[in-house]
C-alpha cells in the first residue's frame, strides 16, 4: 500500500528512533528496527514486574484509543501500556459516540486532534482507514487492526514471544494455520517474520488461503501447504488463527468438524512436533474448532504469555513514537 503519510520517514537509519511517526504496518520496519523495538520491550517488561509498575516518561502526553470495532484485549493492552508510561488515556468505542451519529472518520480525527491528543490508537473494520487518519492528524497513529489488512502490534508481540521462548527468530520454521485470507494478524506476522529471517509456511484449506500467485508476488519466500500433518515434525512455531463460524455459511468450509479434523490443534498433533516447539494463538480462541482446550493449556502453549507481552511491546511502540523529532543527528 503506498500512502504519503508513511513516506516521510526512513532516511536516518536504525540508530535513531526519532524518525518513526506512525505504526501502520510492519512493511516499513527494517529488521533492525523490529529488533530495536523487541529489545526495548524487554526493558519495558521489567517495569511491568515491579511493585510500582509505572515510569514517568510520557507524563503530559495524551493517548486516545478509537475502536470502531470491539476489542477488549487490544484496547486494554494499549490502555495499560500508556498508563504504565504515565500518559493520560481516553478510549472511545463507536457505540454511543458521535460516530454513530454519522460523523466521518476525518472529522473524528480532527476533533480528537483539537482535544490535544498526541497519539491515536485506532482499530477500524475497513482496511486502510489508519492511513487516511494519518494524513489528517498531526500526531502519531498506531494501527490496532484495520479490516483484513494489518495488525502490527500483534505481530510484534508474536515476534517478541517467539524470541523470548526460542531465543531467536532467524532460521525458525513458523507455520500459520487457519483463516489466512481474512486475517490481518497473519499479514503483519508474515512481514515481520520474513524480515527477521524466519521461514514462514501458510497452512489451511485452499479456500482460506486464496490465490497462491498473489501471495508469492508479494512474498517470494513464503511457503504454502494444505496438509498440516506433513509440517509438524519440522515446525518450531505453530500458530493457529481464529475460524469464524460465518466462514462456513459463506461456503468456504464444508463443516467446522471437517476443518478441526484436518487443521485443528490437538494434543495428538502437538505430540508430533519437536520437543522445543511452541503453540500460539492471537485470540480470541474458538476452542474445539481451531484449537482444542488441552492444546491451548499444554506446556507448549504461549498464548497467555502473548497477552502479557503485548503490554510490554505496546509500551515500546508508544515510547518510540514520542518526543519531538529533530532534523539534526
Amino acid at each position: 500500500m503506498t500512502v504519503p503519510a508513511v513516506s516521510r520517514y526512513a532516511p536516518w537509519g536504525p540508530t535513531s528512533a526519532r524518525h518513526r511517526r506512525h505504526v501502520l504496518d510492519l512493511d516499513d520496519f527494517s529488521s533492525d528496527e523490529i529488533l530495536a523495538v523487541l529489545d526495548n520491550a524487554v526493558s519495558m517488561k521489567e517495569i511491568l514486574g515491579r511493585s510500582v509498575p509505572q515510569v514517568p516518561i510520557l507524563r503530559g502526553k495524551t493517548v486516545v484509543n478509537i475502536f470502531y470495532e470491539e476489542s477488549t484485549r487490544t484496547r486494554m493492552s494499549f490502555e495499560l501500556a500508556a498508563r504504565t508510561l504515565s500518559a493520560s488515556v481516553s478510549s472511545m468505542t463507536a457505540k454511543g459516540s458521535s460516530i454513530e451519529k454519522g460523523e466521518s472518520l476525518i472529522d473524528t480525527i480532527r476533533t480528537i486532534q483539537a482535544l490535544g491528543a498526541d497519539i491515536i490508537v485506532m482499530r477500524h473494520h475497513e482496511s486502510g482507514a489508519p492511513y487516511l487518519a494519518a494524513q489528517h492528524f498531526k500526531g502519531s497513529i498506531i494501527n490496532a487492526g484495520d479490516g483484513r489488512h494489518a495488525h502490527p502490534s500483534q505481530a510484534l508481540l508474536d515476534l517478541f514471544t517467539i524470541r523470548e521462548r526460542l531465543g531467536r527468530l532467524a532460521g525458525l520454521n513458523i507455520v500459520i494455520v487457519g483463516d489466512i485470507i481474512h486475517s490481518r494478524v497473519a499479514r503483519s506476522d508474515i512481514w515481520g517474520m520474513l524480515r527477521c529471517g524466519a521461514n514462514v509456511t501458510l497452512c489451511g484449506p485452499s479456500t482460506l488461503i486464496g490465490d497462491t500467485t498473489m501471495w508469492q508476488a508479494t512474498f517470494p519466500n513464503l511457503r504454502i501447504s494444505y496438509t498440516l500433518d506433513d509440517l509438524l515434525p519440522d515446525t518450531d512455531v505453530l500458530m493457529a488463527l481464529r475460524i469464524q463460524k460465518e466462514r462456513q455459511q459463506a461456503g468456504l468450509l464444508p463443516s467446522l468438524r471437517e476443518y478441526s479434523n484436518d487443521y485443528g490443534l490437538t494434543q495428538e498433533r502437538l505430540d508430533r512436533m519437536p520437543a522445543h516447539a511452541i503453540v500460539m494463538h492471537p485470540g480470541p480462541m474458538n476452542e474445539g474448532v481451531e484449537i482444542m482446550p488441552e492444546a491451548a493449556t499444554s506446556p507448549r502453549s504461549v498464548i497467555e504469555a502473548q497477552v502479557t507481552n503485548g503490554v510490554a511491546v505496546r509500551m515500546a511502540l508508544l515510547y518510540r513514537l514520542s518526543g519531538e523529532p529533530t532534523a539534526t543527528s
Binding site: 535513531s16 514517568p56 518526543g323
Partner: protein, 180 residues
C-alpha cells in the same frame, strides 16, 4: 580534536580506592550498602568500587545497574532512545544505604532522574552519590558525597571518562575543548 588529560589510569585507580575507603568510613562499615551504577560507565565504576570495598572491609557489597532513560526530562529535546538498557538491582533496596555511582556529575539532571527511579523501586534508608569527576555547573540542588576529582570546566567543554571495560585501552579522563 583538542583534548587535555586531567586524570591518568593510576589517578583513576587511587580515586576509586579513596572513594571505597570513604564509603566504609561514612557508613560505619558496609553491611547495609548497595552500590548502584548508572548506565553506562557508572556500572563498571560501581563494580570496581565494590571490589576495592571488599579488599578493605572484607565484605562483598551487592551491585546493581540502573537505566534512567525513562525518568529523563528531556524526551522532547533528545527524542526516544533506540536502545533502552535493563535495570537490574539484585537486592531489595528498602531500608538499605544505596550509593549511586556515575562517572561525571554535571547538571545534576541524571541524578534527579536516578533518585526518582530508585524511589520507584523501594524506600532506601538513605541515598548517597559517588562520582569520579565533578565538573560543576549544577542546574539542580544536588551534590555528591564522594568525589574522585573536582574539575573546573567551561560549559563549552566536554568531560570524557574512558574506562577499559567500556572503551578499551587505558583508563583516562580528558577535557575536550568545544568549538567556540
Amino acid at each position: 580534536m583538542n583534548e587535555r588529560q586531567i586524570m591518568v589510569a593510576d589517578e583513576v585507580r587511587r580515586a576509586i580506592a579513596r572513594i571505597a575507603h570513604e564509603i566504609g568510613e561514612r557508613n560505619n562499615g558496609v553491611s547495609d550498602v548497595v552500590l548502584v551504577g548508572i548506565f553506562r560507565r557508572g556500572i563498571p565504576l560501581a563494580t570496581r568500587i565494590a571490589s576495592a570495598v571488599q579488599s578493605i572491609e572484607g565484605k562483598a557489597v551487592p551491585i546493581g545497574a540502573l537505566d534512567i532513560t525513562l525518568y529523563r526530562d528531556d524526551l522532547e529535546i533528545r527524542g526516544p532512545s533506540n536502545t533502552l538498557q535493563h535495570t537490574n538491582i539484585p537486592v531489595d533496596i528498602t531500608g538499605r544505604t544505596v550509593v549511586l555511582v556515575d562517572d561525571v556529575l554535571y547538571t545534576g539532571r541524571t541524578i534527579r532522574a536516578a533518585l526518582d527511579a530508585l524511589t520507584d523501586l523501594g524506600r532506601p534508608a538513605r541515598i548517597q552519590l559517588a562520582v569520579l569527576v565533578d565538573r560543576g555547573h549544577r542546574e539542580l540542588p544536588i551534590r555528591a558525597d564522594f568525589v574522585g576529582k573536582n574539575v573546573p570546566t567551561a560549559t563549552s567543554e566536554d568531560v570524557a571518562v574512558r574506562l577499559s571495560e567500556v572503551d578499551g585501552g587505558d583508563d583516562s579522563v580528558v577535557i575536550i575543548r568545544g568549538e567556540a
